[in-house]
Each structure stands twice: as C-alpha cells, then as structure tokens.
C-alpha cells in the first residue's frame, strides 16, 4: 500500500468515527430526563417556543426521519439554535474553537519541547542526579491535578510576583502575527500574549510533559539496549546519530501512539484549565452551557470536540506512518 492510500484509508476510518460521534450526540436527547424538547428549550420557554422546537426537531416524525434530518442539517453546517443565547450554535462554537486550539497547541509545544530532551537525558545518564530529578518531576507531573497546578501558578506568579495575567485572553496569537506587519510593536504584543498564555499553557502541559518524559525515558532505555545500537556503535557511528537518528526515532513511534490515545485527556484538561483561567474557549462554553442548561450548545461543542479528536488522531497516524513506513504495509 502506498503512503497516499494509507492516509486515505485512515481518513475514511476517521469519517466513520465522526459519524459515530454525531450519532452518540443525537442519542443524548433520548437520555435526557423528560421530553427531548427539554434538551433544547430554556426552562422558562413559552408553549409557542416549545412547539416550534418540537417541529424543528421533527418530533412528530418517525425516528429515522428525525435522524436523517439531523444529519442533513449537520452536513449543511446547521448545529441548531440556542434559544437561551438567541444565537446559532455554529457561530458560537467555532468562535470559541481558536482559543482552545491555541491553548492546546501552546501546552503541547511546551510539553514536547521539554519532555523529549529530558527523557533522553534521563535515559542516557541513568542513575545520575539528572535522572533522579527527571523521574521525580515526571512522577509529580502525572499526579498533579492541572486545575490545582493552575491555581498554584496564579498564587505564586500572579499574586505574589505579579508577573502574569490570571484570566482571559487579551491578546491572541493572531494579534502577534499581525504586529509583525502592522503598526503595533512586535515585542510588546508578543510579551502581552505570553503574559496571558504562559500560565495556562504550563498548567495544561505539565501532565503531558511528565507523561512523555516517562515514556521517552523507558523507551530509550529499551532501545539503547537493543542489538542494532550495539551494531551501530561497532560500525563507528557518532553517538549523536545513534541516540537521535536510531534510538529516539524508534522510541517516539510508540510514544506517538500513546499520545494519540491521550489526546482526549488534553482536551478534557483544556476544559478545566480554561475554567481556572477564564480562558474564552470551548471548555468554558461547555461548562457555561451545562450550567445554563443550554443543550444545543453542549451538543454542538461535543461534536466539535469529538471531531477534532478524530482529526488529530488521523494526523498523528500520518506522522506515524511517515516515521515508520512499515505500518503502511500492516
């Protein structure tokens, strides 16, 4: 199988999962206590509104028609209407998505940039102080609740030293990009952006940093003891190439699988990190809509979150296939 066909096949599988996600969200209206209308209508809705919702959901129709209409609307980009906010769900959800993506990306970059070198150092200097330090750090990292870590970061850096912002997203990464060409001073904008994003990114990224450090360390130890490493030493290959081109590459292959599986944890973590830092992303939208019983928005958010998960996993598999071309043939 060629690389292209592999990606195509994997994308089709992903599409199947997205269909499943959408179906599960559709099914949620039937596990709502009472009528599915309750899943859409505000608590104080007038009988007319309730009637309008019943028609919109097609509740007078057979189930398969309801489902068909629901899918059809989704395909047209219609995720329903939030009667509580008086807004289309699509606009709301996609308005919040960039903030979450920015936070999740920043956290992943912090996590990956720190963890892989740390894991490699820890494995290549086994039983030296840096190894013990990395082991303790990663043990603490996977055991610390991220929302608490966020609050502690606020306590230390924002309250005691007053160096970072503790809530909101006053400047986004788009502003930083614009300042490169626009009239705003670039470094000032960059610093302002960092002041907002640093603490949330650390709070969200720490768990992953710890997890990847652990996986990289144990994977490297495993790979470095293998025959091909000894053979590479015997043929005189420089240490750098043995470690990074040979051993690390093989270490990262299973690490990437685990990260794909743990992506849900990243998104879940983003929800709660956003709550701590009042970050205006999908997470805060989810919590708000549950607290206000705004089900259409919750459903829309769930679909977007589920779809993003699938999308990123397809991307991860593509990278995987690139790193280890043999998976294409499996």
């Amino acid at each position: 199988m060629s690389f292209g066909r592999f990606v195509l096949k994997r994308s089709l599988q992903g599409l199947g999962v997205v269909w499943g996600v959408v179906t599960v969200v559709f099914a949620l209206r039937f596990v709502t206590p009472g009528s599915p209308i309750n899943a859409v209508a505000p608590l104080d809705a007038s009988p007319e509104t309730r009637q309008a919702i019943a028609t919109e959901l097609g509740l007078d129709q057979p189930l398969y028609i309801q489902y068909g209409q629901y899918l059809f609307k989704l395909l047209q980009g219609d995720m329903g209407f939030s009667y509580i906010r008086g807004q289309e769900v699509v606009g709301l959800v996609f308005g919040r998505l960039p903030a979450t993506v920015e936070l999740a990306l920043a956290a992943s970059i912090v996590a990956i940039a720190l963890s892989i070198p740390l894991g490699v150092l820890s494995a290549t200097r086994r039983n030296e102080p840096i190894d013990y330090g990395a082991t303790l750090l990663s043990l603490g990292g996977i055991s610390t609740p991220n929302f608490w870590l966020g609050i502690m970061l606020i306590l230390v850096f924002a309250v005691e030293f007053n160096v970072f912002n503790t809530s909101g997203r006053g400047v986004d990464v788009g502003d930083v990009a614009l300042s490169l060409v626009g009239s705003e001073p670039f470094f000032g904008t960059l610093l302002a952006w960092l002041a907002y994003i640093t603490l949330p990114a650390i709070a969200l990224g720490t768990y992953f940093m710890a997890l990847i450090t652990r996986l990289t360390r144990s994977g490297m130890l495993d790979e470095l003891s293998k025959g091909y490493v000894q053979a590479a030493r015997a043929k005189g290959l420089p240490q750098t190439l043995i470690r990074y081109k040979h051993a690390l590459r093989n270490t990262l292959i299973p690490v990437i699988t685990v990260l794909g599986l743990q992506l849900g944890t990243l998104i879940g973590g983003a929800v709660i990190t956003e709550a701590v830092f009042s970050w205006p992303g999908l997470g805060t939208l989810v919590i708000e809509s549950i607290n206000r019983r705004d089900w259409p928005v919750l459903q829309g958010s769930l679909i977007v979150i589920g779809t993003s998960f699938v999308l990123v996993n397809v991307l991860v598999d593509t990278v995987y296939a690139y790193l280890d071309p043999q998976v294409v043939n499996d």
């Binding site: 293998k226 025959g227 091909y228 000894q230 053979a231 590479a232 030493r233 015997a234 043929k235 005189g236 290959l237 420089p238 750098t240 190439l241 990074y244 081109k245 040979h246 590459r249 093989n250 292959i253 790193l323 280890d324 071309p325 043999q326």
Partner: protein, 407 residues
C-alpha cells in the same frame, strides 16, 4: 617460533611486526548484584596479516565478551579490568610516541592506553564486527541502504581528514544533526555513500541492489540480511573483521554461502578475520589457527591441524568428540558431562576450571596450570598438565571430589 607462543601467552614481550592485533592478559569482569563475574580471564592471543583466527567455545565461555572487549564495547556493569591490546598503526604510533601516558612499541600502540575517543574512532575503519543475529542488528525502521551508507560515511569522513584530527572531526553533534534535518538535501549520509552502499551490496551477492537499498530489514531474508551486514562491515575497509557467530542464526544451506562469502572477501581484501563460533565444523572449514576458550580462558591454541588432529586438553577432546563424524558414524557421540561454570568470582576456586568435568582430573589439577608448549612448530600450547606428562590413574581425583554431580 616458541618465543612467539610465549609472547602470545602473555610472557610480557611486545607484539611482532606481522601482528595486526596482539592481545595480552586481557581480563573483563562484570560487577553485578549477584557478584563479580570473570567473563574474560587473562586472555592473550594475536591476529596476523591475512589470516582467519578461530575462537571456539561453548556459550558462556567468554568468547563474545572477548570480541566486544577488543572494540571497547563492553557495557556497564562490565569493565575491562586489565590487559593490553596492541594495534599496529604507524600513524597512531607516531602520534602518541611522545605521549607518556600511551604505550607505544614500534608500529604498535596499546589501545588500552589511548584516549577513549581515539578508540571509538577505530570502530569501522579499523575494526568491523558482524553480529550473530542480523535481524536484531539492523534498525528495523531505517532502510538497509541507509544503514550501510552510514558505515560508508564513517569511513569517508575518517579518511577525508588526516589521522591526527580524525577523532575530532568524527564528532557529529546534536546541533549538526538538527541542522541537517532542517535543511533539505543534507544529512549524515550523502548520495555518494548511498552509491557505495549499492556497490557493496552487489559485492556480497545481493541481486538488484539498487532496489533493495530502499527496503527495510524486515523485507530481507535472514541470509540476505547477513550478507548486508557483511557489506556494512566491509564499508569501513577494516584491518580486522570480527565475526561473532556469523552463521548461527541462519539455515544450514545459507551458512555455507555466508562462510564462502567471508572467505572470499578475506582473500580479496587481504584483511584478517577473527571468527568466533561454537561450531567446530565452521572452524575446521575456515580457520588457519584456533583458540579454544573455556570459562573465560584460552585453554588450548595452535594451528588448525595441530589442535584438531592432536588435541591435548581434555576439553578440546571433548568438544571434538561431541560432533558427529560422517566418515565414521559408529562410535557414539561423547557429550561432555556437566555444565559450563557460572564464572562468579566467589565460586571460582584457584584450580583448573575444567577439573570438575574432566574425565582425567588429577591431584595436580587442583593448582592453576600455566600454558605449556606442546609443539613450538605448530604454535601448539595448552593450559593442561597433560601437555607435560601422561595421565596417571594413581593420581586421579575421586569421582565425587567435586560433590558428585556437579552443577
């Protein structure tokens, strides 16, 4: 020639001019939780130009650790504790002649005394190794061609620079690696080294080498992969090729092909091969001289004919007795009773280590025997009292002396 034998058995004389490598009193120990393991015990031997030297022994006799010790690849908790490894290299000798920390004797340098980076720089261009299992000795996620090209590149970069700066320029740092990764068309290996890899694959008899360089080790058969490993070992144009059980993991029909290939490349390139194996058939087929190892020691050595036709040490006799003879299949195979000792320092008595399994053990075997010259002309020597005098039943140790059924 008897002096030579003396030298080789560690009497403290320097290496001879035609020794590519001369090892003297080499000891390697492993410091494990269970205790100290004497994997290689004061081993001495030399490898000359254009010869194939066989090292034979059961698994656990220390023959593989000996080969790893030569190229300084013994890993923690193992350590080379003693010994000299004289390597003939006029360049190195000149470079270090004025250095007091380094032992130099004529054209030979004691590699145990040179800085580690110099030892490292000799891997590939001076010593190459073929390992037992080709499947695990290639990185499964990098193409075979790329891995051979790496070995070519090691050699290319080594010879592109004068001897004195070689070890420095071999350093290939993380910054360099990342830079090469970012800039397209750059990398450790180059198109030239890949072309050379194709040539090498062709030389070792792999069909369609230009296509196969892009395949992964998993797409090769065991025999083809072992050929590829030989190609990789030849990439460095080494003086000494160490072949550690090169045919053990292969089918019998493939074994002969690989051995023929090894002999061919040895003859063509005029290099020396150290062939390590447990298979006496392979030794008989290939080697000029042979060393028999037992419990970390060389117990018998000499030319192939001397050792095979006229073994002195009962262990060698036992080994020879445990292979079937096609021409004379009548006598039953004689397996050696008991097992190889565990080599734990605390459990090793100061005696002939084979005495507990030896059918001819005598009272004098309770002292550690020195190597005794059997026949200087064939460089035949053995660490056994039987080299001096015949077996005397009156002095025999009682059968249950070592606790009967020794473990």
């Amino acid at each position: 020639m008897s002096e030579r034998l003396q030298a080789a058995s560690g009497a403290g004389r320097g290496p001879d001019a035609d020794d590519v490598l001369s090892v003297s009193n080499l000891s390697t120990r492993f410091f494990t939780e269970e205790g100290q393991i004497n994997a290689v015990e004061s081993v001495s031997f030399d490898i000359r130009d254009n010869e194939i030297l066989g090292i034979v022994g059961e698994s656990g006799s220390g023959k593989s650790v000996t080969s790893l010790s030569l190229i300084d690849l013994v890993e923690s908790p193992g350590r080379i504790t003693e010994g000299e490894v004289w390597y003939r290299s006029p360049d190195l000798a000149d470079e270090f002649r004025s250095n007091d920390a380094v032992s130099v004797d004529g054209d030979h340098v004691d590699l145990r005394t040179v800085p580690p980076r110099v030892r490292r720089s000799l891997r590939g261009p001076s010593f190459s190794t073929i390992f037992q299992d080709p499947m695990s000795s290639f990185n499964p996620s990098i193409t075979v061609g790329e891995q051979i090209a790496e070995a070519v590149e090691v050699q290319r970069r080594a010879t592109a620079n004068p001897r004195s700066t070689r070890s420095r320029t071999q350093g290939y740092g993380l910054g360099q690696y990342l830079l090469d990764g970012i800039i397209p068309g750059r990398g450790y290996t180059s198109e030239e080294s890949m072309d050379r890899a194709i040539e090498l694959l062709e030389q070792v008899g792999i069909p369609d080498p230009a296509d196969r360089v892009d395949e992964y080790p998993g797409q090769f058969s065991g025999g083809m992969l072992q050929r590829a490993m030989i190609a990789q070992a030849l990439a460095g144009e080494p003086d000494v090729l160490i072949a550690d059980e090169p045919t053990t993991a292969l089918d019998v029909t493939i074994q002969a092909q690989i051995l023929n290939l090894l002999r061919e490349v040895q003859e063509e390139r005029g290099m020396s091969i150290i062939l390590i194996t447990h298979d006496l058939g392979v030794i008989a087929e290939m080697c000029d001289r042979v060393c028999v190892m037992y419990a970390g020691e060389i117990v018998e050595r000499g030319t192939l004919n001397a050792v095979f036709d006229d073994p002195v040490h009962p262990y060698t006799e036992g080994l020879l007795g445990s292979i079937p003879d096609l021409e004379d299949p009548k006598p039953r195979l004689q397996p050696i009773a008991g097992n190889v000792p565990g080599l734990l320092d605390s459990e090793m008595d100061d005696r002939c280590y084979f005495a507990d399994r030896c059918p001819n053990a005598m009272e004098s075997c309770l002292e550690k025997p020195d190597e005794i010259v059997v026949d200087a002309a064939t460089e035949h020597g053995a660490k056994c009292v039987l080299a001096e005098r015949p077996y005397d039943p009156d002095e025999a140790l009682p059968a249950d002396y070592f606790g009967g059924d020794s473990e």
